[in-house]
Amino acid sequence: MRTLQKVISCGLALLITASVSACGGSKPAQPESQAAPDASAASSEAPAGAGSSEKVLRIYCWNTEFQDRFNAYFKDKLPADVSVDWVITPSDDNAYQNKLDTDLKNQASTADKIDIFLIEADYALKYVNSDYTLDVRGDIGLTDDDLKDQYKYTQEIATDGNGKLKAVTWQATPGLLAYRRSIAKDVLGTDDPVEVQKQVSDWDKFNAVAVKMHDKGYKMLSGYEDSYRTFSNNVSAPWVDETDTIRIDPNIMKWVEQTKEYTEKGYNNKTKLWAPEWNADQGPAGKVFSFFYSTWGINFTLLGNSLDKPLAEGGAKEVGNGIFGDYAVCEGPQNYYWGGTWICAAAGTDNVDIVRDLMKTLTCDPVTMKKITEDTEDYTNNQTAMNEIANSDYQSAFLGGQNHIALFAKAAPNIDMSKISPYDQGLNEAFYKSFDDFYDGSVTEEEALDNFYTASIEKYPNLKRPA
């Protein structure tokens, strides 16, 4: 009996230690959703009322941009018995991709099949080259005639190794430099986009303007990452070479050099992309001259941030509400693109007809696409419609009457996506987040690089540091 007691008490002691540690091991799997700051708004799944008789169109995305387009331009065409289930996960820290990947893997076994999911340029290849996406021509049934007006680059990036088109987009995303007219007048003496462009047409001139802005008490840029895309889009090779080794392009190191200088000399406001301070810098109280933004950024992000009374609180998109009308755009020092959202049809979808209708309406129909641009100032993926608007007397009220579509139409054909890799999202994010510490002065450049490699390999275990 005594030995039994001893055995049991020893066993208990061991078990207690073990359970404590097992908790440590199993716990962290859950808080993934908490890791994203706005997890509260993360998943907005439809009430479970969707019975088996009712058809459900299930769409995965990371913000409400596509939802807005969908509701405004396609919802009326939905058959009455179809309900839409939006699953929205923020893309921070790969959270969206992780959620999507998990659910795609269960696609065959679940009744809640994903019909449509959205992807970004930064990781498009990962899905385009997989079996989880359907062929837009062969499986969905769009014809070459339907697709003829789309920008070629939007199709090239979404074409897999076998020449199958796997995704289509309603937007093209050339980037421009958006600037404040009032500050331009104050410092440069003119707010005319052509004149301003002359003063920022290359990086040397851009830096010279930064000095002038600083002397008058303004900031040239808001944060560290503002100009990142203009450098990272003009690299000479992809992030990762054929031996899975990470390669940092010299052009990206130029961004490091410029940003460090801007930070030390006070040309920027030390904010971080998407931070509340960064958003505030674009608003009425901001003292920042310019922001690098592509198409969606101007009508979606910048417009929203410029208002004094937000749209959600009933604010109007009109002059007088905040600094609506005070922005203008010019080409800026270098050609670049930023983002872009592609629509994929998920393999295993049970709503092919609706998906075809949706793709056709939002990405091929010139009438709808022209209307989207006119209503929302987004730049849509239809060359005929866009050139029509570019050559018309179209005016953007938000940009003080400028026809920015003409500038986009000029920049769009120059977009080159040949240097993208499936790792761009994770590596770009790891890179600029690691260098935040360098600009803040808490690490040296070598330490920042070291942290970048560490973070990258944590995200993608197959990648290697350069020797």
């Binding site: 009996m1 078990l15 230690t17 073990a18 359970s19 404590v20 540690s21 097992a22 908790c23 440590g24 091991g25 199993s26 716990k27 962290p28 799997a29 808080p31 993934e32 908490q34 890791a35 700051p37 921070d92 820290d93 790969n94 992780n98 990947d101 795609l104 990962k126 899905y127 080259n129 997989s130 989880y132 030390k270 904010t271 931070a275 509340p276 301070e277 505030a280 499936p422 987040k433 935040d436 510490d437 803040d440 808490s442 690490v443 330490e447 942290n451 560490t454 973070a455 944590e458 995200k459 993608y460 275990p461 197959n462």
Partner: protein, 321 residues
Amino acid sequence: MPAATSVKKPASIHKKNQKKSISYAKWGYLFIAPFFLAYALFSLYPLLSTFYNSLFENYMNGLSQVGPNFIGLENFKTVLTQGDLSKYFKNTVIIWLMGFIPQFALSLLLAAWFTDLRLRLKALGFFKTVIYLPNLIMATAFSMLFFALFSDAGPVNSILLNLGAAEPVRFLSNLWTTRGLIALMNFLMWFGNTAILLMAAIMGVDTSLYEAAEIDGATSTQSFWRITVPLIKPIFIYVFITSMIGGIQLFDVPQILTNGQGNPNRSSMTLVMYLNKHLFSENFGMAGAVSVLLFLITGVLSGIVFLSMREGTLGKGGGKR
């Protein structure tokens, strides 16, 4: 037939023995069985499978799975040589101590005051509730709150600017302010809990000892150090070990506050955050290896604390006897 009798015989002997000294032990084992079953299913099995998984190369490359390939102790080698595990361990311990030391001191002080017969504090129940309240807030919500409060353009900075600070303090870009905020949150969340534990311990001390000491002319400081502290030492061990294990598992507060980055320079990256990095990229082999190492660290530290403090109490108790 003969076989049957041979079975019966020992059974009857056994019965006789039982009648002499009735044992209810089997009922005891029966009653505790559900715990062991649940434990084996939900804790022991995952624990063992973590060990097992740590021996494989097993991760996702894009949408395709790599492995599982058996690679022996390769994951442990990678973690120990390239993983900066010691750095994250150091971060964790520093942040934990920054929170635990003031937390313990304040809790002890509060517990002493609340239980002091001479002070006769009013509304004790109210105070006990209030100091425990921060613990009821979810750590993530608490962390979000601090993130908003201490951001570069947050309320704390606007107060500082109004008070005449030259420029905003960038709390979350600075090593010691970031660690300090995490420690402060831990401190705020747990000091009430510790205070209540210590209070329970102090109230368990025989009041006649204090009365006797008072009659002998002891001051309250003296009776605190000479009576209270030695007698509640076992509770100190408990508080220390539980807080240490909680500290090693520190995750949600720094994860939310630094947006999963452990900034600046990964100096507020704790062990479990590092583990989460591997889990998040579905690198199960490496995550398993980190978990196993975490288990060993926790086990060894708990053992050291337990043994060292238990020896102390036993020695004293034995001496008195």
